[in-house]
Symmetry: none
Subunit: 199 residues, 4 copies
DNA sequence: CCATAAGCGAGACGGTACGTCCAGTCTTCCC
DNA sequence: GGGAAGACTGGACGTACCGTCTCGCTTATGG
């Protein structure tokens, strides 16, 4: 673990991008979202709370959505990475549970919901959310699923996207509507959709 | 000098609420949402487009969310009412398809998505969306499901709320993420979750 | 002095103008002016405080200015009528002192100041203030002055209007600027302007 | 490629206050007052007519009264400064005539009347009008008068404030009531009040 | 080795929408 | 027909952010 900085503190960055300003913005955005909701997440509030000039934010991020996206991508990778090891059924199930936990209990999960919501209000947000987050993850999920099928661990009747939507959708819907995810929902869906009766 | 006409047209409302103003607001809100998105849906724009004073809107609706809610409730009842007749499996399946159609193809379906989205940004919105729309409909859906179970038409493994979330969730999730609902998704979910193999 | 009303109280007026509503409006206007200033004197506030419908006010008064004018005319006549008896110097001086007292210490005097002020903001107000208050009083003041001159009680160098303006103006100006009327001002002006040295 | 021009024109202000915006506001306020009266003098109208954002006005002026005060102070100094040279009777008389001219014929004089009027409607206005305009000018007028007395040019019976009120008041009163200032009024007052008969 | 170029905090600027208040008009229903 | 009640259009209020801009400063780099 390398030290933070040889000298005590670096007051100003000079010519290069100021990393501490970047982090301050990301953290301020995160904090404001959790504390005051998306409504309280204004560029001015971020700037104020991060001790940063508005222009510094506009220089590096096209919109507050991209700020949140940056934190979401980092956090998702840390909290529930798509497994790239053995494609066992248990790994798949664990991944799904990790997603459910992230989205229900992790404060960082609020960011995903907020972006999903904002995407409904703004087509541009929808596009970059898909491009930078949903699609890349879906690609890796699809790959994982394909390897699991090939290994004979699961055998869904539905196509890969459909089955992933069918597994993730109910969890997201529960969270969106503010109800708790019913106990056993994930497991039952998993069993019924990935290991169907041979009819 | 005879009166103009007894029931020709009522130019102004006087002491009572002006029904034509109410309708103008609802339609303007609907139109603006579809044409310019939630971002373009400001109280001022609604007033402008409905030919109505802002104060008239504030007099009757606490927020633009409640305006949308009013249109959503009316439209939902028209486009896909919860069936209260025979609780056959086919009726249930038809209702589900009606919901999918509403949310994917009906312009009025955008209102539900917008409100679901706004509910993520605003706890107050979440509450009234549940109270005035989600919960009442869910109650009737649960009742329908219960009657279908009693009639032996379906036999889900999951509890009533869980099974409804599992059926509706994937559809909503697909729409939220901007992907099309995969062909066969609804039917497969229906078959797998409501008429499971006896294991 | 006739009794207020033979029967206990008249709840509604019926076909004729409701005198109690008229008085309620006048008193409410007066009270509001004194308590909340001209800024707090809105038609809605008068209606609210008088327990009267807005329409009733608009039916009888073209503007709130006319309401104030009605009270001002009544009050001025009561508090410092233009003397029509003997045109002695002492009567004249007393009238001037009465005016000073009205405008500095009588709450009803605020009404005159408010109307004089409003007349600067609104030419219509200026016109009716002159027509209904300033000009009629000035006519009688001029007449009084003429009789006093004829009787040899006073002998101003200036014309009648000029001398009246010269006497009244300083008092009004002091009140308008919020300073107190200097002791001896009225008397000195009176002596210097009405009984000048024969040069 | 050489620079466009060192001191050609500054299109935008940047971090510092924009002087052109300040002047645009002052002139717009002045123009609106003269053309549409105090009633037409709204912050929105000023902003519109000055081509300036409302916020820019609110940033620098607490109210429209202070805008007018700024123009009044500047204009008064230009049009009829309190003379600080020789304290001759003629200088004093000239100053008084300058005041009369300002208040009767100069469009900028309307500003003083409007503020004097507004001060009657609003105690806050009264206070700042005194603090920023009336009192400072009165101080210098008093000083001028004192020097004139000391030089034996004039010898009023009344105290300094009283005599000034007695000179200025009639002029103001005439203007306030919409009548013209009677010919000879200023001179007669001047002679009678500043050079009284030795009785 | 110093000019220059970029990052940065600060904050003024033109806009747009907010939610509130009041003006003045109109209509209904009761007396 | 008078009057209470109150809905209606219209428009200004003062506030909050938006996204753009310029200023004056700091620092790293390259001619």
């Amino acid at each position: 673990m390398p030290a933070v900085s040889p000298q005590s503190r670096r007051p100003r960055s000079g010519n290069r991008r100021d990393e501490s300003a970047r982090l301050a913005v990301l953290h301020a955005a995160d904090d404001l979202l959790v504390e005051h909701g998306f409504g309280g997440l204004t560029i001015e509030a971020i700037a104020r709370s991060a001790g940063v000039a508005k222009q510094t934010i506009y220089r590096w991020w096209p919109s507050k959505v991209e700020i949140l996206l940056d934190t979401l991508i980092e956090d998702s990778e840390k909290r529930f990475p798509v497994p790239d090891g053995k494609p066992t059924a248990e790994n798949l199930r664990g991944y799904l549970r990790g997603f459910a936990r992230f989205v229900t209990r992790d404060p960082a999960g609020k960011v995903l919901l907020a972006l999903l919501a904002e995407a409904q209000h703004n087509p541009g947000t929808a596009e970059i959310l898909r491009e930078r987050y949903l699609d890349p993850r879906r690609d890796r999920e699809r790959a994982l699923l394909a390897r699991a099928i090939e290994a004979g661990e699961v055998s869904p009747k539905l196509g890969p996207d459909a089955v992933l939507d069918a597994l993730v959708g109910p969890i997201v819907y529960c969270v969106l509507t503010g109800s708790s995810v019913p106990r056993g929902l994930v497991d039952t869906l998993f069993d019924d959709l990935l290991r169907p009766r041979p009819d």
